[in-house]
Amino acid sequence: MASVTKDDQIIGKNGVFIKKPPRRSDGPPKYRTYEIYQRERVGESTEKIKPGQLISENYRQDPYPTLAVLREHYPCYRDWLSNSYWISEYNDVTSIFCDEANFETRPKSWIYGLDNPGRNLNDELPLLATEETLIDTNAEEIAIGIASVLAQKGHGDLATEFAARFAMDLLLKSMNIPDADAGQFASLFWRMQRGTSWNPILRDDGKKAMDELTHYLDPIVAARKKQPGEDLISVMIQLAPSDQPVTVRDIVVTLLERDHETLHGALANLWFLLLTHPEEHQQAISSRRLMKLAYLETLRHSTPVLYAHRYTRHEVERFGRLIPEGALLVCSAAAANRDPKTFNDPDRFIVDRKDMCQRESRGQYRADGLAAGIAFGLGKPSIHPAVPEDRPRSRYALTRDTAVTASQVLVSHLGNIQLAKGTTPNLSALTVGEMHTCWHLPVTFSKK
Amino acid sequence: MKVKIDKEKCAMSGECYYNHPELFKMDDDGFPVVLVDEVADETLRQHAEEAAEVCPAVAISLED
């Protein structure tokens, strides 16, 4: 084996020396992809799961039985149909989560294959700090607005009029998008996010949406350069990472790389679960603490973001296999969160679970010896056991607090929230790869 | 030993250059081009003989 100089080396998690990934110069990242289309014929006959089942409608309605089979029999399942490996055990998924040395995430802009991707500013501290402030300030007010509107009506759809609405309104407010443009912005944002998919038709549409969004933001950015406000756009404009001033494109890419699913999906799933579990419902609405626990349990029990993609940086021997470099790993949070080795009675929705940690999942580290529900999509977990004073809370914590606040506001405005008679809501993913949530949740309630 | 190819007889089957890329390569039209002027090495001599045998058009001849 050729020797490498010190500059080329970084030390992996277990003391193993590995080569640094190539430095990214200007331009889009050049990922090496070892994507072999390989059939393992013999495995097919003894396979209790065929890869087609993982993209079936059945799976999109209820992935958990299928994932249970994966988890029990195939710690690292070779899905030849989509050319990937599925990881389904809790400890395996969390071990990948923070192992930057061996696994990498690829940004959504890579899926788009853009020539000039623009920079992702989501990890810049000033931005995080501003977000924290804005969310803390506005969340309750926005929730009150939405709840009041609902209260007037006497009935509503919690999935669309509450969960989706709240998440979008929060973003709009944080960016200070004029009310008149709310619909247009929401639509562009949604199309742009949806385009990060395998479906080329959606991708094309998403690219168009990105261009339209850039066009839309041009005058706003120009105006806020002259007169900065206290919104995210203004803060972003004032950043100059690597001494390069921020362009509109950077802002659009930053929006792209944000998570758009967790708050929306978690709220919808939370209320779906509460409404279908009356006892737990009563528990959750009795105090903020219990509502928080219900939210955490939702993230575990019915996580909206079912999986995350990771790519191996090099050939790695893990989970009982030798995985090629550049291989795609499907880290199934849904499967991991129902791992019976980690959680007792994992398929039950239990609000005050004693075997679950109330902190965010941080790789293999367990603050109080307990596992947390894995929720992908909220950015890198915080590396700090306790948040230092000069650092804002992590996105995970922000989302949690926001969701709990919104739910509490809802409960304080609407009494006796019940499922509308004769409805049988369910969780589903509209298409392969999208979030698994409740899309229609009609309810009735009384005014308080 | 020199390897000669009779282009008249050659049917462009490709057996020579695919079996022995160290001795032949394919030109743009599909005809083989001999890469080695003098085949002196013992292993290469064997390969040349095999190529001559394998050619379905019997178009390869070896001259000492």
Binding site: P28, K30, Y31, R32, T33, Y34, E35, I36, Y37, Q38, R39, E40, R41, V42, G43, E44, S45, G52, L81, S82, N83, S84, I111, G113, L114, D115, S197, W198, N199, P200, I201, D204, K207, K208, E315, E317, G320, R321, L322, P324, E325, G326, L328, V432 | A11, M12, S13, G14, E15, Y17, Y18, N19, M26, D29, G30, F31, Q46, E50, V54, P56
Partner: protein, 426 residues
């Protein structure tokens, strides 16, 4: 790398490759691929797709860049050795291993060595036809096409004639297992193991005292002073059944299908002149070959059609699409055994022909060109011409036919009609 946005009607939803419609009739999708996506990145299945004639030809020729081997790391895990055939030549890419194995066996299927088997092929064809000639109809797939090639191989291997039927059973179980998986695969594995148990003593015996049969020749054939190991011989025999038996059987059925349903007006031409069976074979291989796709992985970044395939990406080469490329053939969607822009007659590895015409891609091109090409062609032609000679007025029994389909093109599935009934007089 970004291309101009295509209109929704030209975009391809990658899920189409899994649909039964595509398996039945992939040609419209091929057209779209060739016209609008000469290089298509299928993110759903995580692979790239190449469809134009000259691109497929180029990819086949460029073995350095488009490697065939399946991922076989030197790990302690038994990666790749779980192939149903055991260790075999298909798994080796462009390594010296591949060349060595190929050189040992390839020579057995061409030239004089092939000619030695021709009388036997005539005899087998006659025997198979004898079994149904007294009826006035025949189900070509089951009673004819699937009987001849396997018996030919069994005889080529020098297996005793009384074991021929058992061998046919093993073969059918193996192929069913390969194609359908599930419980069929367990039966297929059992059949494979039985077959290997049967062959083992033969290998030992014939390595010491070789006869004139194919098995002896394989056991003793040397290249660079090394012979095939017994495991390799067994793996090769299993491979021979699928690659040599299954494909030829489907080729025969496909030829009759096209002459009965696609171009019935050309059936009489073939009946009048049995030399035209070779043309029928060639045009069948172009129009709708038995194998439509080959898989490769790239060993470097490859620039193609203003896109870049990353290093070590999976690539599907659709030869079925390349064969219908109007850049290579006039009226490509017409089946015509008298076509003047297709090289009829023997194919060769280089894909270049002295008559300047283009060849079909059905056997591949280059390093991994089908080893049994000459045998497939001759065997099909002989079997079909023998049947044609012994019957009069052949015609399809049913006016309608559901057409050719395949279990899954994706799996390198072999295309053939499920059933093919023919009525005839004697």
């Amino acid at each position: 790398m970004s291309e101009a946005t295509k209109s929704p009607s030209t975009e391809i939803d990658p899920r189409v490759f899994d649909t039964p419609e595509f398996q039945k009739n992939p040609f419209p999708v091929y057209q779209q691929l060739r016209d609008h996506h000469p290089i298509f990145h299928d993110r759903f299945h995580n692979r790239w797709v190449i469809s134009r004639y000259w691109d497929v030809d180029g990819a086949f020729q460029d073995n350095e860049s488009y490697d065939r081997a399946v991922y076989k790391p030197d790990g302690p895990y038994e990666f790749g050795s779980r192939h149903i055939f055991g260790p075999n030549i298909l798994e080796y890419g462009n390594s010296g291993e591949h060349r060595r194995l190929r050189n040992i066996v390839a020579g057995q299927f061409v030239g004089q060595k092939l000619q030695d088997f021709i009388p036997m092929i005539h005899q087998i064809s006659d025997e198979v036809i004898d079994k149904f000639i007294d009826a006035d109809e025949v189900e070509i797939v089951r009673q004819f096409a699937s009987q001849v090639p396997i018996r030919v191989i069994s005889n080529m291997l020098g297996l005793p004639r009384e074991d021929e039927d058992t061998f046919v059973e093993w073969y059918q179980a193996l192929i069913a297992g390969l194609g359908f998986g599930g419980e069929h695969l367990m039966a297929g594995l059992k059949a494979r193991n039985d077959m290997w148990d049967y062959i083992d003593p033969l290998i030992t015996e014939r390595s010491k005292k070789p006869g004139e049969d194919l098995l002896s020749r394989i056991c003793v054939a040397e290249m660079d002073g090394s012979r095939m190991t017994p495991d390799e011989v067994k793996g090769f025999v299993a491979l021979l059944l699928a690659a040599g038996g299954d494909t030829t059987e489907k080729a025969i059925a496909n030829m009759w299908y096209h002459l009965m349903y696609t171009r019935p007006d050309q059936l009489q031409d073939v009946l009048d002149n049995e030399d035209l069976w070779e043309n029928a074979f060639t045009e069948m291989m172009r129009y709708d070959p038995v194998v439509h796709a080959q898989f490769r992985h790239t060993t470097r970044e490859i620039q193609i059609h203003n896109d870049v395939i990353p290093e070590r990406a999976g690539v599907i080469l659709y030869l079925g699409a390349g064969n219908r490329d109007e850049r290579a053939f006039k009226d490509p969607n017409t089946f015509d055994i008298h076509r003047d822009d297709l090289h009829m007659g023997k194919e060769n590895r280089s894909g270049r022909y002295k008559d300047g015409k283009n060849g079909h891609l059905g056997f591949g091109i280059g390093q991994h060109f089908c080893m049994g090409y000459a045998m497939a062609r001759q065997e099909s032609a002989i079997a079909c011409s023998k049947l044609a000679a012994r019957i009069k007025n052949p015609r399809p029994k049913f006016a309608e036919h559901e057409g050719i389909s395949s279990p899954s093109i994706d799996s390198g599935g072999f295309r053939t009609p499920a059933e093919l009934w023919m009525t005839f007089d004697t």
